[in-house]
């Protein structure tokens, strides 16, 4: 009886602590200048997302070195806001130009652009703003409500489990996000190998410096992020030629009230797409590029008039936009809990997390719980800003989508170089950025997973340290990786994912 009372008291104390953390996060996000950074980030994200081919990742990576002087939670809120805004912004050119501003808005073109052709662009844009906002709010609410359960789960992870999660995440990303497992593993391992340059975390010996003092500090992963997401992206953008600019004047016609009526007519599509987005976002490596197609396909499958999809039905826009926005909340769960991002933008956020001295994993749900809560609260509140800005910006979307990206490319490159130099005041970071800009563009061109490389570059030191610590704990015995049910499950999952192509091949032979 006594022990039950103690348990109840402990649970009540934990709940009070979590509620305290949540309300503290609300007050932090609503305080000045945090709210200002949130709104600025959202506006910048919408602006960059609306420029076809640019996307929020570029804005996030260029802003990353500029967040040095900011507090960790403010920096993370700013970057999350750019991410969130960019996902909504991507729908603008998808609807008015038939060119998705970002990959997660690709499915929006299917019905969004036909609505514009039918003279209902304003309705489609309003639907996009409302669906994005509602999707984001539902997803953030789900995750906030789940945090107490997540805490108990994440706190089960010990040193060997963290190492295994890093390897499993890398393997998952290679098969879920893009293409061949061999390509993904090679890219991820190359990213990890680059992190071994400089002082080793074990024994503090220098590795691969070839006598150059400048290499002692290693190759900074932020410079890698800048090279892959700013330089490589700008080269890719340039290779797209004039595809990114609207060549005709855009007429924004239609009614916002019709959009609202359409939205309340389809609560099931809205709810289902939000759940799909949140769930797929939480799968390491999947992200909004996948979720918008899955939600669109589900809306089409369950519709009474599937033949009308693709001709400008509101459900198509609702499904795609709700799900891609809902992915943000979901994708932060594996990013914060295990250090495994669901997308390029989430990988940059992970980089920011480490840059500001935080370690993804159990700490984010114990010592840094207030930061975790403030991120989700900022998503929750940010979606209301998206709704307001989205509806107010509708008359001006034509201007956004007709921006000449040539005016931004050299400035983004200069900002990227300055950001890399500012990391350690070391030219090695600029050379590394340049090298990865070229490698990154080639990787994209030949469908190698850039996210796998980034994950390797970010998680390399963490994986090495946890591997070494695990082997130290076990006196060098590899049996530590099957020593508990959780560890054994993770090891088994890692092997299954690794041998999945072989298993698939064998099964297909027997069929």
């Amino acid at each position: 009886m006594f022990s039950t009372d103690v348990l109840v008291d402990a649970a009540a104390s934990a709940t009070i602590l979590q509620l305290g953390g949540f309300f503290e996060a609300v007050s932090v996000v609503l305080s000045w200048p945090v709210i200002g950074y949130l709104v600025f980030g959202l506006l910048l994200g919408i602006f960059l997302g609306a420029m076809p081919g640019v996307g929020p990742a570029v804005g996030m990576v260029v802003m990353l070195p500029l967040t040095f002087p900011l507090d960790a939670h403010v920096a993370l809120i700013l970057l999350t806001a750019i991410y969130l805004g960019g996902l909504y912004g991507g729908s603008i050119p998808a609807i008015v130009l038939n060119v998705p501003g970002t990959a997660p808005a690709a499915a929006t073109t299917f019905d969004g652009y036909p609505m514009t052709e039918l003279g209902r662009a304003k309705e489609a844009l309003s639907l996009s703003a409302m669906s994005s906002a509602i999707g984001g709010v539902i997803s953030a609410t789900i995750v906030i409500l789940m945090i107490p359960f997540l805490i108990s789960f994440v706190l089960l992870f010990r040193t060997p489990d963290i190492f295994l999660m890093a390897i499993l995440g890398l393997l998952m990303i290679t098969i879920v996000a893009k293409g061949s497992l061999v390509k993904g593993l090679t890219a991820g391992s190359l990213g990890m190998f680059f992190t071994t340059v400089g002082v080793s975390p074990i024994g503090y010996e220098t590795r691969y410096t070839f006598g150059f003092v400048d290499l002692t500090g290693g190759l900074d992963y932020i410079a890698a992020l800048l090279g892959l997401f700013a330089v490589a992206e700008m080269i890719r953008l340039k290779s797209m030629g004039d595809e990114t600019i609207a060549d005709t004047a855009i007429n924004v016609e239609g009614r916002i009230s019709t959009a609202f009526n359409n939205l309340i007519k389809h609560p099931v599509v809205l709810g289902k797409s939000a759940l799909i987005g949140c769930f797929i976002g939480a799968i390491p490596g999947a992200g909004s590029t996948v979720s918008n197609f899955v939600a669109y396909a589900e809306a089409l499958r369950s519709s009474n008039h599937p033949d009308k999809f693709g001709t400008g039905v509101p459900e198509g826009v609702i499904a795609s936009e709700t799900s891609n926005s809902a992915t943000v909340g979901g994708s932060l769960v594996p990013t914060l809990a295990f250090g495994i991002p669901g997308s390029g933008a989430a990988a940059i956020l992970l980089g920011a997390l480490i840059l500001h001295g935080m370690v993804p994993g159990p700490e984010m749900f114990s010592r840094e719980l207030d930061v975790t809560y403030s991120l989700f609260v900022s998503i929750l509140l940010g979606n209301f800003v998206i709704l307001a800005v989205g509806l107010m910006a509708i008359p001006y979307v034509g201007i956004l989508s007709r921006m000449d990206v040539d005016r931004f490319i050299p400035l983004v490159l200069v900002l990227g170089v300055m950001g890399a130099y500012a990391l350690n005041f070391n030219w090695v970071d600029i050379y590394y950025l340049t090298l990865l800009g070229v490698i990154g563009y080639t990787m994209k061109k030949y469908n190698y997973s850039v996210i796998a490389f980034v994950l390797g570059a970010i998680l390399g030191p963490i994986a090495e340290e946890h591997l070494w610590r695990s082997l130290q704990i076990s006196d060098g015995s590899w049996m530590i990786f099957v020593s508990s049910p959780l560890t054994a499950t993770l090891t088994a999952l890692t092997f299954i994912v690794f041998f999945q192509p072989l298993i698939g091949y064998t099964v297909s032979r027997f069929r």
Binding site: V176, G179, L190, R207, V231, V290, V294, I409
Partner: protein
């Protein structure tokens, strides 16, 4: 030359570089691999899209199309301009090289005069602000260090 570190420090780089070597070799020789290795290496696992599409062949054919249409030039020129910018910056410092790079790019893409001026001003302001606010040594270059 630099391989003087202990076995403990060497383990992780050995594993990662080993995976890169094996993976790169498999990809390089993939058209000569025996079954089932050929299928496993060439198979693209994805949630959406055609699993059997050879992405590299697609990329290669796109590249050929680009060369035929002359579309490849612009991003190669940009990459070369960027590398030149870094080399020039190493000599004269980022403070002077940045506006020059932006100017060269704006002239190449035939921006209107007023846009060009705004771009160059911003291109000069970015390194200047970095210098003012975080004391970034953007004036340092091999030549400028000798001069100033």
């Amino acid at each position: 030359m630099s391989f003087t570190f202990s076995g403990e420090s060497a383990f992780f780089p050995r594993v990662t570089s080993g995976v890169v070597l094996v993976g790169a070799t498999l990809l390089l020789l993939r058209n000569r691999l025996p079954e089932p290795l050929y299928t496993i290496v060439n198979k693209d696992e994805r949630l959406i899209g055609n699993e059997d599409t050879d992405e590299d062949e697609l990329a290669a054919s796109e590249l050929e199309e680009d060369i035929g249409s002359g579309r490849t030039d612009s991003h190669i020129v940009l990459a070369l301009m960027f590398v030149s910018f870094i080399i020039v910056a190493r000599f004269i410092g980022l403070l002077f090289a940045s506006p020059l790079f932006v100017l060269a790019y704006a002239l190449w893409t035939e921006q209107p005069k007023h846009v060009l001026i705004i771009m160059v001003v911003i291109g000069a302001l970015i390194p200047y602000l970095f210098m003012i606010y975080i004391n970034l040594p953007v004036m340092d270059g091999i030549l400028t260090e000798a001069l100033f």
